[in-house]
Symmetry: C2
Subunit: 213 residues, 2 copies
């Protein structure tokens, strides 16, 4: 069955790979599955046709036969379950890979989103300067914990998994802030993710969309 | 194999059921699995023994034989995979149940956490009054979208699933703010979750911990 995902017609980041379709593209490239992309203009995100696919009016969505999914974590999980390459075979290691998927999205990304919100949505507010150190320090303490756990390992739990794919993707959102470089082992971890051929193909594909004439 | 989870020795909410061990207790009650609870005093959360179980220094954790998990979403998912009662049998419906698990934790909970942070961690800051409406309105727009998708249905995708368990648990965190009552169908959805016998048993168990002499 053919796979169709949605992506922004023009990503707000201009092709830096931070829009969430890159995560799904990366997963599909890791398992060597072809896919189609339907580009969605901004106004259409909040219209009925797209809300039927994703009630939160976001990209990406995933369509495969009768199955329609939204929520990047769930899409990546579905891909990882259907095809070899993103989940370990051992049952306990698989449960831990799922654990790191949830950790990326529920324990790390919210603290990063808080920083993104403070910079982008509240960057012009009078409290920006006084509040930013609080937001940054909450995020730093979370990144400290993650850096301690990762240590000098290449990946979070032995072999690369869907958990690493999401954690690297989440940490990439930090790069514009410069904060990633405060944690050298996390920066190296992200670089290892970006160096994977599947990531390179995913990044190039989203860049082509965002730099076309 | 016996199951051991961790919980706060004293929950900051005094037994309102908002600490995340309630979510895991609820899942275990839905699938009728017995479990042990190890209570963790606050200072121990940041000590090496607990950080080995959960690098973010939080509860709950889950131990079952050689398997150690943190991250509530992953624990609930593991329970739902091992035992009947929290996942539909149909493959597509199962993928959608996982989708709602991720939606609860990545698309709904971060907006609620932002409100909790604004009230508890930044409640004494000079920007509180001016900033609160922004935080509340971001959350309202997300809840509006969820309420539109749920409509008059009992559960998010047909039968009750692990997706509903997490979504109800996340929405419960809104109750102290009064904002849940702005969305009558979401309030009714939460009440349906709370009325389940398994939830009642989980709630009573955490309350007993937090009201003991």
């Amino acid at each position: 069955m053919s796979i169709t995902i949605t992506a922004f017609e023009r990503s707000p980041d201009g092709g830096k790979g931070l829009a969430r379709d890159t995560r799904v593209r990366w997963a599909l490239e890791e398992v060597s599955q072809p896919y189609e992309v339907r580009l969605v203009p901004f106004p259409a995100l909040k219209q009925a046709a797209h809300l039927a696919l994703n009630p939160f009016g976001q990209i990406p969505t995933y369509e495969e036969g009768d199955l329609v999914l939204f929520e990047t974590g769930a899409i990546v999980f579905h891909i990882a379950e259907q095809h070899a390459g993103l989940m370990p075979g051992d049952a306990n290691a698989r449960a831990r890979a799922v654990m790191w998927m949830f950790a990326a999205l529920n324990s790390v990304e919210p603290a990063i989103l808080e920083l993104v919100t403070a910079r982008l949505l509240e960057g012009d507010k009078p409290w920006r300067e006084a509040r930013m150190p609080l937001v940054e320090n909450r995020l730093r303490s979370r990144l400290d914990q993650l850096a301690s756990r990762l240590g000098e390992a290449d990946w979070l739990d032995g072999a690369f998994s869907a958990g690493d794919l999401l954690m690297v993707s989440v940490l990439l959102r930090l790069r514009p802030s410069g904060m990633l470089d405060e944690f050298p082992n996390l920066a190296a971890y992200v670089a290892r993710g970006e160096a994977r051929p599947a990531y390179q193909r995913a990044f190039a594909a989203q860049l082509a969309v965002n730099t076309r004439a």
